[in-house]
């Protein structure tokens, strides 16, 4: 039944082709091309409408002082002044530093723990498949919904996390105010992100480790290379492209980080956890400085895009080795 419905357009096309067999043969090359465009065009049109058109609009707005909450006010063209102000604004640079701090530590921890876990799982102990699945669960869940629940775990006194820390470190639980303490708040986000995304890095590293053929290790054994030596000259270099791929994906994702920070700290206390996305949201949807925030959005996009491009080139070079 469903088959008949699915092939309806096909049958229609077929009927036309059969009606004119000679023509069909002569245009068969062309019809393939038609099919190709027919298949690709809708996606491209959708992306143009939902991604590219708004992007161009944002570029246009970034040269104005437009405010979305006052649509009837006259729009002034301010030229490059928005960009100038963003690049010289110390607050923006602090937000970029906060973002960099966050990206650096999450990636460092996730790579270290993720790779170690992958290495251990690759010992193929009994039941490793089951435990791997258990470890993978957090990464599939909604960062917003689960991140929100961490607020409860972090609550001093009543939260499980605060309680566990105070129990282990033997300090009063009221001192473990993860979300309201200026020096702890950035770490509260790093911990949740690491908890959530270490499995992601682990899974990719595991694929890397499993891609190394056994005969290389056998040859190394024959040459009496020590396990230490084997790790540094075989395991790590051969898994490196995979590790870098994981870092690339995590880096892009965490540069854009919004949901978890917004729910855990909302950028506070003060602006200690205000990453770039939070600044952008405040400018665009709280202060309604649409033109200014558009300019900031363009700068962020160029930054992600540029960094990712450089990184992909490095990745390809590693792969070719």
């Amino acid at each position: 039944m469903t088959d008949a419905r699915l092939s309806n357009p096909a049958q229609a096309a077929d009927a036309i082709v059969r009606a004119t067999p000679r023509l069909a043969r002569t245009v068969s090359g062309l019809s393939d091309r038609m099919v190709a465009w027919l298949f690709i065009a809708p996606t491209m049109l959708l992306l143009l409408a939902i991604n590219i058109f708004p992007l161009i609009w944002a570029i246009g707005l970034s040269f104005t002082n437009y405010r979305a909450n006052r649509p009837n006010e006259a729009i002034d063209n301010v030229g490059l002044r928005n960009y100038e102000r963003i690049l010289t604004d110390p607050d923006i640079w602090i937000a970029m530093q906060t973002t960099a701090h966050f990206v650096f530590w999450t990636i460092a921890l996730q790579t270290l723990i993720g790779f170690s876990l992958a290495y251990l799982i690759d010992r193929k102990f009994r039941g490793h498949a089951f435990w791997t699945t258990i470890i993978l669960v957090p990464m599939m869940l909604s960062p917003a919904v689960v991140g929100n629940f961490w607020r409860f775990l972090y609550e001093p006194q009543i939260g499980l996390f605060a309680y566990a820390v105070s129990f282990v470190a033997r300090i009063p639980p009221t001192e473990v105010a993860m979300l309201s303490n200026v020096s702890l708040a950035p770490w509260s986000i790093i911990i949740v992100d690491t908890w959530m995304w270490t499995p992601y890095v682990m899974l990719i590293c595991l694929a890397g480790l499993r891609s190394i053929p056994d005969y290389i290790y056998e040859a190394a054994e024959v040459d009496r290379a020590s396990p230490w030596r084997q790790f540094w000259s075989i395991t790590l270099p051969m898994a490196l492209p995979f590790i870098m791929l994981a870092i690339l994906f995590r880096g892009i994702e965490n540069f854009k980080m919004f949901d978890m920070v917004n729910l855990l700290t909302g950028g506070g206390p003060g602006s200690t956890t205000e990453v770039a996305s939070i600044t952008l949201k405040r400018e665009a949807f709280e202060k309604w400085r649409t033109g200014y925030s558009s300019a900031f959005a363009i700068i962020l996009f160029v930054a992600v895009f540029g960094l990712a491009n450089i990184y992909v080139k490095a990745l390809n070079r590693v792969k070719q080795r």
Binding site: L6, I135, S294
Partner: protein
């Protein structure tokens, strides 16, 4: 030294296996605790949930679930006593707290919004993605690599940066806070994943199958529908689940572009409050209800997970 590993040069020794098992299992157990805690909290009473030290053993209660699905008003004892006997279980639980159920909460409509938007956008993204992936896989498309990179790059943009012009555009078009607007947006975001994943799956189907079918008199479209689609069914299903999970979990766009009518569950759940602050058992109940479908899908997807999270870059 070589004697101990004489039986097999590369297989890990039993001792190293055991040590590895200890560390991995320890990590797995610790990392699952927050999820178990969500589940446990959803069955606690509000006083139990904020007890110090945190209660591991407690009497299970469905108050959290009752509070999740209802709104309540505080009443005097006399008024409650004058009411006819409680008819439902939740009525009884609520009255013990000197409250009366005033009506249903917004959770159910928000949950239904999540379902409609996630399934709608997944259907569109997989439909478009399958066609486009086939186009790129089988035909010589000019600038194919650039177009594919363009499709992927749309996903690199920070959601807030995309949300600013989308917000203005939807305001002009009357799509603000509408399910249709969210479906369109999620389709655009997901289609890049769908194209990349499905291109990998379709690349793996030998061209010879279609060529044979075409020699037998099938047209290009017929061979696509009758030969390629059935072969790609597993890949299409896996892709659909990945798109579904993304749309289901998405928060940034949903929190900025929807507020009432079309709001999905992720921005709604953090806003569940009771008297005097966040009603944690109700939040936990909402979180549990929201997470269960994803848990099921994750277990189903186990084998395809790697491929999905790397946009098809790593296959196994």
């Amino acid at each position: 030294m070589s004697l101990t590993t004489a039986h097999s040069v590369v297989a890990p020794t039993p001792i190293s296996k055991r040590i590895a098992a200890v560390f991995v299992i320890a990590y797995a157990l610790v990392s699952i605790v927050p999820l178990l805690w969500i589940f446990a909290t959803s069955f606690k009473t509000p006083p139990d949930s904020i007890a110090y030290p945190p209660k591991v053993i407690f009497e299970p209660s469905v108050e959290g679930y009752c509070n999740l699905f209802t709104t309540r008003t505080r009443q005097t004892r006399e008024y409650i006593d004058s009411l006819p006997a409680a008819t439902t279980f939740c009525d009884e639980v609520t009255r013990k707290r000197n409250m009366v159920i005033a009506g249903p909460s917004n959770f159910l409509p928000r949950f239904i919004n999540s379902l409609v938007i996630a399934f709608g956008s997944t259907f569109c993204a997989v439909f478009l993605g399958t066609l486009t992936a086939y186009g790129f896989s089988r035909f010589k498309v000019p600038l194919a690599d650039d177009l594919l990179f363009f499709i992927l790059s749309t996903r690199m943009m920070p959601p807030i940066a995309v949300a600013i012009p989308i917000y203005l555009m939807y305001r002009e078009l009357g799509l603000s806070d509408s399910a249709l607007g969210m479906i369109l947006l999620y389709t655009a975001v997901n289609v890049s994943l769908a194209v990349w994943l499905l291109k990998g799956f379709i690349d793996e189907i030998p061209r010879e199958y279609e060529e044979a079918a075409m020699i037998d008199g099938y047209s290009r479209l017929q061979s696509f529908f009758k030969v390629v689609l059935p072969q790609a069914a597993t890949g299409i299903a896996a892709t659909a689940i990945f798109c579904l999970i993304f749309a289901w979990n998405e928060y940034a766009f949903a929190s900025l572009l929807t507020s009432g009518e079309a709001q999905t569950a992720p921005p709604f759940i953090p806003q569940i409050i009771g008297e005097g602050g966040q009603d944690w058992p109700a939040v936990a109940a909402g979180t549990t209800v929201f997470l269960v479908p994803i848990l099921v899908f994750t277990i189903l997807l186990r084998k395809q997970l790697l491929r999905g999270i790397t946009f098809g870059a790593v296959r196994k």
